[in-house]
Symmetry: C2
Subunit: 387 residues, 2 copies
């Protein structure tokens, strides 16, 4: 693989935007990414789109050419990838792989979801389709219920507490309040988090991420050409996508995600780096417990100590290992299919030193981790600044 | 790109199978393809799945790891691609590209759709999501209506007749009757085709393809390793995926598909071949008029002469350019997301000389053409036997 660089990025704010349809959001993010690199739509050689459930949320399939055409991109491969919440992480994986393998030079990768058009019960139903509908779905399990099982087991086995979960929520809300593009800019206290409405014991409303509209986009090219387009390319140092069983009951141990561990191992190996080399990370905090498991599976904290690590402030912006400085899915927002590429965008901002109030001191190496379902797809990316 | 070979293939029968769910169909086809090459699931390095609307038809998203896990494939990239009716053509494109670029050696590509679980009006609604829902869909246009517009214009401009359309149906029904895996094994006369119930003038029920369940699968590897797995590898000589606007009203001329023409041009160029070199083809006859346009856009017949060419018997099994010897979408059946890979399977059978009653005399070079929507995605593949 030849080295690949992110040369442009663009995203919409995340939130509830009744006046913007799915295509308008995706076009806005895509055009920003193109403008960021000074690239015209006609120069794009392939387009990869991550979208989880556009057909279910807004009644439109065939979204890749639908969005590409509106940006003036035709005549090239335009492909929608669906991997539940890891849809655009997977699109990014395939886009980088294709540029790395020499298939294309200029590739646009976007993620988009428009969720607020559906009523809440329908949103839960659509999200549940990412689980095993023949078993979990039939039994009535939604994702809060599945992650509550994971949390319960983690608490039982490792002494993780509700205070630990709340610490993740408090930190991500604090970070989101510093992010002008975040869906929720509301600082909360641990007391508020603990007193939140119970959704699926032990997860309260503050342990769950949001239902959002939004899009994010990055433009890729071979590193050797990056300086034609930007003075601040960000290099893809490591990258892996892996899979596992969809149903939670097929897993031997539900306190970890084997797909996450495998993706991390492969990405670290490709980058020639380890967890200690990572300056900051964006991880898939669809629920607070998912962030705790992620920081363990990524090797930031020892197994079982993710909750304590979070509670001790190590993952705060000023901590030893800042995690989700953007506010994460928890506060930045969770337009499902956009989460993976949005993580890349947020790391690019940090690595470039453009993260404003949430800028971290050490920002040379960033890691993104995007999870699909309860761990059936995982994408881990390691990005680094180019000196 | 290093040369890529198809080393295994497997498909289910196409039809209505109330007792088989989507996953069972996909697993059956995948296991047949693996067995055909003597490859174990653990050897598969990546899995690409083409599926149009599993979430809408059967309520299950995240289908790539869902199906892969059931075959014993975990820990590797498993990715669902959605490009309307060209979903598995696109999955095949990305699988071949990845092997060709050296990313993996053993890649499984499958396509699946389970359509008969939904009521007919709901099927039409789900299919219509592949058009532009904000314009065409809102105006009430379903796909039969859109292709009826194409047919009307083609008739007006080139003198194509209803008898020409009927000739395509009669030929594909005759071929399907020779295919043990076809959904419809019913020989029809031109009179029957012309007297069929009108769906969208000038298209009768016999001009429309079927609503089917089914799956198809192929296993890929670098050509240099093909003989480890099979004595009859089939080489991918040329391949392209292209895109165009989704809405028909954005096209300057609706009697052709620019994405099809572009994909054909690129695939011919990659193969170093032209239309005259193609011994037989599987084209995307979602409607009879689509086959007529395809054989023109592929260069088998001059522009405007596709109807005459078909009526004259040139595309029959014994004709100068056999098209859809499998029965095509018209008679073999149309499980939407499986159509692209199923075309590859049918060409592999012909090239290997294993097509039974429908075997053509000259079967060295085969071409497959998979179309998404009314032409927004097109994949063209050229396959050849290895001496």
């Amino acid at each position: 693989m030849r080295p690949v660089a992110v040369i442009g990025m663009g995203k919409t704010a995340f939130g509830a935007f009744p006046q913007k349809d799915l295509r308008a959001l995706a076009v806005e993010a895509g055009q920003k990414a193109l403008a960021d690199a000074g690239v015209a739509p006609e120069q794009v050689e392939a387009f990869y789109l991550g979208n989880f459930a556009g057909p279910s949320f807004v009644g439109q399939s065939h979204l890749a050419p639908y969005i590409a055409g509106a940006m003036g991109i035709t005549g090239v491969p335009c492909t929608r990838v669906e991997a539940a919440c890891a849809s655009s992480g997977s699109a990014f994986f395939h886009g980088v792989s294709a540029v790395g393998a020499g298939l294309y030079d200029l590739v646009l990768v976007s993620g988009v979801e428009k969720m607020t058009s559906a009523e809440t019960p329908r949103v839960a139903e659509i999200l549940a389709m990412a689980g095993d509908c023949a078993t979990e779905g039939k039994a009535g399990a939604t994702f809060p219920a599945l992650f509550a099982l994971i949390a319960k087991r983690h608490m039982h086995q490792f002494g993780t507490t509700r205070e630990h979960l709340a610490a993740v929520a408090v930190k991500n809300h604090a970070n989101g309040a510093k992010n002008p593009d975040a869906h929720m800019k509301k600082v909360i206290t641990p007391q508020q988090a603990l007193a939140g409405k119970m959704i699926a014991d032990p997860l309260t409303i503050y342990d769950c991420s949001l239902v959002s509209d939004g899009a994010a986009s990055v433009l890729l090219c071979p590193l050797e050409r990056a300086h034609e387009f930007t003075s601040q390319p960000v290099r893809v140092l490591g990258l892996a996508q892996t899979s596992d069983y969809v149903a939670l009951d097929r897993k031997a141990d539900i306190t970890c995600f084997p797909a996450l561990q495998a993706a991390a191992r492969k990405a670290y190996q490709m980058a020639g780096l380890g967890p200690d080399d990572v300056d900051l990370a964006e991880v898939h905090d669809c629920f607070t417990i998912a962030e705790i498991v992620a920081i363990e599976d990524l090797g930031f904290a020892p197994k079982g100590r993710g909750g304590f690590f979070s509670f001790d402030g190590e993952t705060a912006i000023g901590g030893s290992k800042p995690v989700n400085t953007s506010g994460g899915l928890k506060a930045k927002g969770r337009p499902v299919g956009a989460t993976g590429v949005a993580q890349i965008c947020d790391l690019v901002l940090q690595i470039r030193g453009e993260a404003g109030e949430r800028q971290v001191a050490k920002h040379r190496i960033g890691l993104a981790q995007n999870l699909g379902g309860s761990g059936a797809t995982c994408v881990v990316t390691i990005l680094g600044g180019v000196a």
